[in-house]
């Protein structure tokens, strides 16, 4: 038996994760992560280097089958607006978080601070509307470029070179939850007023970290909706 086979037949969760990560690194056929913990472990391995293979990350995130029992502790909904709940800090290489969207909740049009952004549906559906960057001369409204509705388990990708987007839960009956990965992590981004193209820098905050509610003083909305 080769060492890879020995590890596979070992049957211990950690060894299985090693195999998965190794397979990914060697670009062999990817076996899908069987749990959120496995997904996180694989992501740690993938992001340990300096290069990010977007297709690979998207594929791995998409292949994880959402199991609410595994992420329920991070899914803290708020009645007033969507929430961001930190799951993992990725050894400083990425932030992984669960976003919880009540009925009708939506985000501003925003950029991603030169980082990669992966967004995977855990529950429900989210509408993503893409916008071009407003150019410095245009004072008019920003026209949507395209839009789509993301289905459960689907994983979308965006970066500043692709454009800007607004994400919203358009359902009046169902809540939605999504798993986001940002690499490198960032705390500031820009929000855009659709009517005027005017932009604003905002600081992003976490509703909870690692399953624990973190209180934060907010008096003014950071969203431009």
């Amino acid at each position: 038996m080769s060492s890879a086979e020995r590890r596979w037949f070992g049957g211990v969760e950690r060894l299985r994760e090693d195999f998965l990560s190794a397979a990914v690194m060697e670009h062999t056929e990817v076996v899908k992560p069987q749990s959120l913990q496995e997904l996180i472990a694989v992501l740690h391995r993938i992001f340990s280097g300096d290069e990010v293979n977007v297709e690979e990350v998207q594929s791995i995130m998409e292949s994880y089958e959402s199991n609410p029992q595994e992420w329920m502790k991070y899914a803290k909904f708020d009645e007033f607006r969507y929430t961001r709940n930190l799951v993992d800090e990725g050894n400083g290489k990425f932030n992984l978080m669960v976003l919880c969207w009540g009925e009708g909740h939506g985000s501003s049009i925003h950029d991603h601070a030169n980082s990669h952004c992966f967004m995977k549906m855990l529950q429900g559906q989210l509408k993503e509307t893409l916008f071009e960057w407003p150019d410095s001369k245009s004072h008019g409204s920003m026209k949507p470029k395209s839009q789509r509705v993301l289905q459960e388990n689907q994983c979308a990708y965006i970066s500043d070179s692709i454009g800007l987007h607004r994400v919203e839960n358009v359902s009046h009956t169902e809540r939605a939850a999504s798993l986001h990965l940002y690499s490198p992590p960032f705390q500031l981004c820009q929000t855009f007023d659709q009517r005027t193209g005017h932009k604003n820098t905002v600081k992003m905050t976490f509703w909870s970290k690692f399953g624990e509610r973190t209180t934060f003083e907010t008096t003014v909305s950071q969203e431009n909706n």
């Binding site: 329920m72 909904f77 009645e79 007033f80 607006r81 009925e103 009708g104 939506g106 409204s141 607004r166 358009v170 359902s171 009046h172 009956t173 809540r175 929000t191 007023d193 659709q194 009517r195 005027t196 005017h198 604003n200 907010t218 008096t219 003014v220 909305s221 950071q222 969203e223 431009n224 909706n225």
Partner: protein
């Protein structure tokens, strides 16, 4: 509100959701179990009617019957005296579906989203303990004025209906903190909503609003305001026709502004009525009045994370140009406004004086 979260001490859950059941035979559930059960989940089945033995769950607090084919909520439900939360989303319910005595329940949370309601059933408006009401994704054409009876209401979600008008009585809900009116046909927001002192989140996206009343600046606790997908005025409209006020109006203004006394002995009674209905100019620096003719003035204000919201002010005349701001929010004057000659600001003839200006 998620029925699956925050189970309390002593909560006992009977989960029969997602089992593709056409019917539920509760005989298999022991009397003790029925007595103990506080939460009963029956969502995502194919129930056409609620199970007969439902009222035997005497201590039931939470009932979820969403995503079935229900056309009727049986009268038995009204015997669940401890029921606090009823979730009946995604069924086929309409105003005839609720039992007559539904209003007697002590409900705190009611979710009827995704049904076929064309109006809010009167029984719902009797639920004095109701804190959260969701009737999103239905066919509601109006919000009844009796909504003010729900004095405990904190959350009201009515997104995705056919509502074109917000009744000012909505402002009589002292604890309302979330108001969801997105995806409707609303053309204006009544200034009375300024009385909703507890309002923290107002969702108005995808409606037919062109401006907001300046009174919205008074909502000091408002943190979230969604307005996308409304035809909001971006620039002050310059080319409006100028309709001079009538001689009657000019005479009326002179009388009121000079405080000239008048009585039915001096003038015909219809003129007395007319003079009595003078409106004071909202500009606090102006002592003027107007009758039918006032100037509609849009001022752009940054508010609640939003840039240049068009807020409507009413002034007695184009010369009354001092800004009317009622809250210390940042004002961003458009360069357009300061350069528009006063005589070209829009004039609006009001209808009968008792109606709100459009």
């Amino acid at each position: 509100m998620d029925v699956f979260q925050s189970l309390e001490q002593g909560d006992s859950v009977l989960d029969l959701s997602r089992l593709d059941l056409d019917s539920v035979d509760m005989d298999g559930v022991s009397e003790e179990r029925r007595r103990e059960t506080t939460r009963l989940y029956l969502a995502s089945n194919r129930l056409a009617v609620l199970p007969d033995a439902l009222c035997l769950f005497a201590n039931l607090q939470v009932l979820d019957v969403s995503s079935n084919g229900l056309e009727l909520i049986c009268e038995d439900v009204t015997r669940l005296t401890k029921l606090k939360t009823l979730i009946a989303k995604n069924n086929r319910l309409d105003a005839q579906s609720l039992p007559k005595d539904f209003g007697c329940l002590q409900l705190e949370v009611l979710n009827l989203s995704g049904n076929r309601f064309e109006e809010l059933p009167p029984q719902c408006l009797k639920l004095r303990r109701l804190r959260s009401l969701s009737v999103g994704g239905n066919r509601l054409r109006a919000i009844p004025a009796e909504i003010e009876n729900l004095t405990s209401l904190e959350l009201l979600y009515l997104g995705g209906n056919l509502i074109s008008f917000i009744p000012p009585e909505l402002a009589n809900l002292p604890h309302l903190s979330y108001l969801g009116l997105c995806d409707n046909r609303i053309q204006s927001v009544p200034p009375q909503l300024t009385r909703l002192h507890s309002l923290r989140s107002l969702s108005l996206h995808n409606n037919l609003l062109t401006y907001l009343p300046r009174e919205i600046l008074s909502l000091v606790h408002l943190q979230e305001l969604s307005l996308r997908g409304n035809p909001l005025v971006v620039r002050f409209v310059r080319d409006m026709t100028y309709d001079p006020p009538s001689l009657l109006e000019l005479a009326g203004r002179s009388i009121k502004s000079r405080n000239l006394p008048y009585s039915p002995q001096d003038v015909p009674s219809h003129l007395v009525n007319y003079l009595d209905m003078a409106s004071k100019c909202p500009n606090p620096k102006c002592a003027g009045v107007y009758f039918d003719s006032c100037v509609r003035h849009i001022k752009f204000v940054d508010f609640c994370g939003k840039y240049r919201l068009p807020l409507m002010h009413y002034l007695c005349s184009p010369e009354c140009s001092s800004p009317c701001s009622s809250a210390p929010q940042s004002d961003v004057d458009s360069e357009d406004e300061s350069s528009v000659p006063a005589d070209r600001l829009q004039r609006v003839l009001l209808g009968p004086l008792t109606e709100a200006p459009e």
